[in-house]
């Protein structure tokens, strides 16, 4: 492919160097060629994509250019798409055709993108390896014996394999950043409330946030502008102004960022990851950033608090999957109680059931105060740590994950080990902060990610720092041979 980024593609289409239809066919062919093995897609919407591309070409010939005209994109199968199967990676929704579009989908459609298909994911976004999907594991394009991370593993792997130029994801505890890190691409989780959650199948409502996968920071900047903003259909979406992220990133006024590095993110790192991380720090110092050691004292409790809050909310959010109005209904049921129990037991996989049970426990009489309420207080503690830190620094830096990708099957029988792969990402979800993972090197030929955390609604400075870093490095333009 001669166009290496979203920005190059948009430019080429605008200049009519290539038509949207040609581009769409190119990527559909890439998917055909490579996805049988990678398993990034649950549904490929070939026909709809080709017809939408023609529509866009017609518009362009009439001089109508939208912000993302002709850009092919893959959507995580957690976003509802009208008339198209929306499975959320679950047997429960294997037969579900959504009657409506998610706001993110609507915005991207209206901006002129071409949806190529719906990507594979951990079931109901619960997982960190993409192995809990009803549709089978996704493979890491750098080494197909390895997981791509999760839950947005299909979206991440597809961008890394260059079979799509960009994709959407969602991040509840690291589900964008962790797979971005393991696949060697950029993954942006915006501030909670920056992007509408309407039509995004809820896992944990106070933590979920939609975001993006791209190969570089500028692409993310361009896309973020299009999906952000208040949505009257989502009460928790914010009406804070949406800046022009792209222009902010490329304008030349030098910003001397003060960057905090929390001890808690560094202390337990292995030597390889530590080395890559400090190489990245050196580069940032080289472009004028000031580095400061900071403390996030309670961030170590992040995974524990998260594993209370997220299951509690999910236990309630997933009650609507009862086999009554949509989704899987057991044919073994003859009473209402059986209808509920059998449909849900057949429709949900093991990890989803575990989380529902833990969440039910944490909310039940006698345990509410000790688990749910306590976790919400810890959440406040963790948030205050961040607030204090942002009094002194502009951005916070650390590795995205403790290590490179692990092997498929390696952690499937050990939920705790799986949960701990989110150790550096969950705290930002608890605090609602924006964060981004960008490639910072390799360990044993598998990518490693650098995480940049910003203050609420400060995506623009995260993006700018990432862009400045990527001007000095080439990790993000390295492609797997797959």
């Amino acid at each position: 492919m001669q166009y290496k980024s979203v920005i190059e593609i948009l430019g080429a289409i605008k200049k009519k160097d290539i038509s949207s239809s040609e581009l769409t066919r190119y990527y559909l062919n890439q998917i055909k060629e490579k996805d049988a093995d990678l398993n990034c897609f649950i549904t490929v919407t070939e026909e709809a994509a080709i017809s939408k591309a023609q529509e866009i070409d017609n518009e362009i010939s009439k001089g109508v250019i939208k912000p993302l005209s002709g850009l092919p994109i893959a959507q995580k199968d957690i976003f509802c798409t009208k008339g198209i199967k929306t499975s959320c990676g679950s047997k429960m929704l294997d037969n579900f055709i959504s009657p409506y579009d998610a706001t993110v989908i609507e915005k991207l459609n209206n901006a002129g993108t071409i949806m190529l298909g719906k990507t594979n994911m951990d079931e109901f976004a619960m997982g960190s390896s993409n192995e809990t999907s009803f549709y089978g594991p996704v493979k890491n394009p750098w080494d197909k014996d390895y997981v791509p991370g999760g839950s947005s593993g299909g979206s991440a792997s597809a961008v890394a394999a260059r079979i799509v130029p960009c994709s959407t994801g969602t991040d509840t505890g690291g589900s964008i950043r962790q797979p971005a890190s393991l696949c060697g691409i950029c993954g942006l989780k915006p501030t909670y409330g920056r992007v509408s959650r309407y039509g995004m199948i809820a896992f944990a409502s106070s933590l979920d946030q939609a975001g993006l996968f791209t190969t570089d920071a500028l692409d993310a900047a361009v896309l973020l502008k299009e999906i952000s903003g208040h949505d009257p259909k989502d009460s928790t979406s914010s009406n804070v102004d949406v800046p022009d992220y792209y222009n902010y990133c490329i304008n030349n006024d030098k910003k001397a960022f003060t960057i905090g590095i929390p001890d808690e993110f560094i202390n337990d790192l292995n030597e390889d990851v530590k080395k890559s991380f400090y190489d990245a720090v050196k580069i940032l110092e080289g472009i004028g950033c000031k580095i400061k050691k900071i403390k996030l004292e309670h961030t170590g409790l992040g995974v524990s608090a998260y594993q209370v809050v997220a299951p509690a909310e999910c236990s309630s959010n997933l009650s609507r999957f009862d086999g009554v109005r949509f989704g899987h209904r057991s044919d073994k049921a003859s009473t209402l109680e059986e209808l509920y129990r059998e449909s849900r037991s057949e429709g949900f996989g093991k990890e989803v059931k575990r989380r529902i049970l833990v969440g039910t426990y944490a909310l039940s009489a006698g345990y509410y105060d000790a688990y749910y309420l306590k976790a919400q207080k810890v959440r406040n503690l963790i948030t205050q740590d961040f607030n204090n830190a942002f009094n002194d620094v502009d951005l916070i830096l650390g590795p995205t994950t403790p290590d490179k990708a692990f092997k498929i099957g390696e952690k499937m029988n050990d939920p705790i080990a799986m949960y701990l792969s989110d150790v550096y990402t969950v705290s930002t979800n608890l605090a609602g902060l924006p964060a981004m993972s960008i490639p910072m090197g390799f360990k044993d030929k598998l990518p490693l990610g650098l995480q940049i955390i910003g203050n609420h609604f400060d995506e623009k400075n995260i993006l700018k720092l990432c862009h400045l870093y990527q001007k000095e490095t080439d990790w993000h333009i390295q492609e797997p041979n797959c």
Partner: protein, 476 residues
């Protein structure tokens, strides 16, 4: 020797155009599942957005029962599975309801009593399950799902079914007067759960039974009376009352335990993460206060003072704004005694409404015409009997009372000279009766009045007839 303790939870459907958390219409009786949007159906990914009007209505209610309005109110999820509850949880309020700590005075047999209102919170209604439509299956219609309700929870302050009904009626008249609910009990817009226990006076509260979903004033009374007797029987025969949920069966006039055990449930309330805390400012409250209509109690007092009405009549006339509007419209053009006008409306006009199953707002005779009829009675122009006949004809035909009076040549004869001639004529043709009367058979007075009425086709003014008769009989 047993004291009854009753607390009521009243569910009032709010008269909003759209649902509590979605824009779906709230009309009653639409075709099944045509008023259930993707949000009401709990489709994957949908989110709730709160209806401002519902908050305003809850505040209106709170102000009307002297309650506190929370400056920060929180919605919580109540988790349980039921096919008419699409999300598997009901969005309700738990720890921070919009309205709390109110009170209401009721009047039973002339005694005032204050009933405490613990709280009133907003929540969404469930859909409906229909069990007799398909063989072996239940059918679910979610049109009602998401309709806004306020649940008004009283303190256990009532001590008899009469008090409970009086309280219920008072709440009913308040929500109707505020215009926040149509209060239609048959359609389920106003229904209540009763918590009932009995104890020896002075002792701790007994174990209570909760009677669910009672939807008429009469049933509330019957259900409570039945339940009190049931509990007395149990306790007096040495048993213990079980804490349970029961249903009232109006056909058998009894309560029975629900077959499904609700008690095993644990609702796992927690703040709904899809909704943020609702802020209500003093300014917002004072704007609502400004537009609050006159409440029934205040109106009753005004009616007594302004129109010198009897307390009971003022109470009824002020209980609904339709009725009080009708009455006050009539009173505006009344030249006779207002109490008489009130009597006429309460007996005749309400009588016709009840007979025709109409609401006072649907009365076919205008309040102005009612005032006219009463003025004519007062002036002696027509008799009460004639007035009733004219009212009846006007009700049927929608022709104005003046036209009917003119057309039928209805006029009362009140001229004593004219009547003297008639009376003389009647006395002349009944010499025996005159003699009997003079011999002390005074009951014959009504016989003479009847004959005179017959002669005048009922147009004679009975008051004048009496005067003339007495004068002539004693003078003969």
């Amino acid at each position: 020797m047993w004291e009854t303790v009753i607390g009521l939870e009243i569910h009032v459907q709010l008269a909003t155009n759209s649902k509590l958390f979605s824009s779906s219409p709230t009309n009653f009786g639409a075709e099944q599942n045509t008023q259930a949007s993707v949000i009401d159906l709990a489709m994957p990914g949908v989110l709730p957005v709160l209806n401002r009007k519902a908050i305003d209505m809850a505040i209106m209610f709170g102000l009307s029962v002297d309650a506190k309005i929370a400056d920060k109110s929180i919605f919580a999820r109540k988790n349980y599975f039921y096919p008419d509850l699409p999300k598997g949880y009901q969005i309700s309020q738990y720890e921070h309801p919009v309205v709390h700590d109110g009170k209401l005075s009721i009047n039973v047999d002339g005694n005032e009593k204050i009933i405490g209102i613990t709280r009133a919170h907003l929540e969404e209604d469930a859909g409906k399950s229909i069990h007799d439509l398909f063989d072996g299956k239940s059918a679910i219609d979610l049109n009602r799902a998401g309709t806004p309700l306020i649940e008004i929870v009283s303190e256990p302050d009532m001590r008899s079914s009469k008090e409970a009904v009086a309280y219920l009626k008072k709440i009913h008249s308040i929500v109707r007067c505020l215009g926040i609910s149509d209060g239609n009990m048959e359609e389920g817009s106003f229904r209540c759960d009763a918590n009932i226990s009995i104890r020896k006076p002075g002792e701790e509260f007994g174990t209570r039974a909760e009677i669910k979903n009672i939807n008429s004033f009469k049933f509330v009374e019957s259900a409570i009376n039945y339940e009190v007797e049931r509990q007395q029987d149990i306790l007096e025969s040495g048993g213990i009352v079980e804490q349970e949920t029961r249903l009232f069966d109006p056909k058998k006039n009894e309560t029975r335990p629900m077959r499904s055990k609700e008690e095993a449930n644990d609702y796992r309330y927690f703040p709904d993460p899809d909704l943020l805390p609702v802020s209500i400012t003093e300014d917002e409250i004072s704007v609502i206060k400004q537009y609050l209509p006159e409440l029934p109690d205040v109106k009753r007092e005004r009616f007594i003072k302004e129109y010198t009405l009897k307390n009971d009549d003022a109470e009824i006339l002020s209980s609904s704004s339709e009725l009080s509007d009708y009455f006050e419209q009539a009173a505006k053009t009344s030249t006779s005694e207002i109490q008489l006008l009130a009597n006429f409306i309460l007996s005749e006009v309400i009588g016709l409404c009840n007979k025709n199953n109409l609401d006072i707002s649907q009365a076919t005779v205008s309040p102005e015409d009612i005032a006219k009829l009463n003025n004519y009675i007062g002036d002696g122009k027509i008799s009460m009997k004639q007035a009733k006949e004219v009212l009846s004809e006007s009700w049927e035909s929608s022709v104005s009372v003046d036209q009917i009076i003119k057309k039928n040549n209805i006029e009362q004869i009140s001229n004593p000279d004219l009547l003297t001639n008639v009376v003389k004529k009647i006395l002349e043709i009944h010499p025996k009766e005159v003699q009997d009367y003079k011999n002390g058979k005074e009951k014959l007075m009504s016989f003479f009045v009847g004959q005179i009425m017959k002669e005048t086709h009922g147009k004679a003014n009975p008051k004048i007839i009496n005067q003339v008769l007495i004068k002539l009989l004693k003078g003969v």
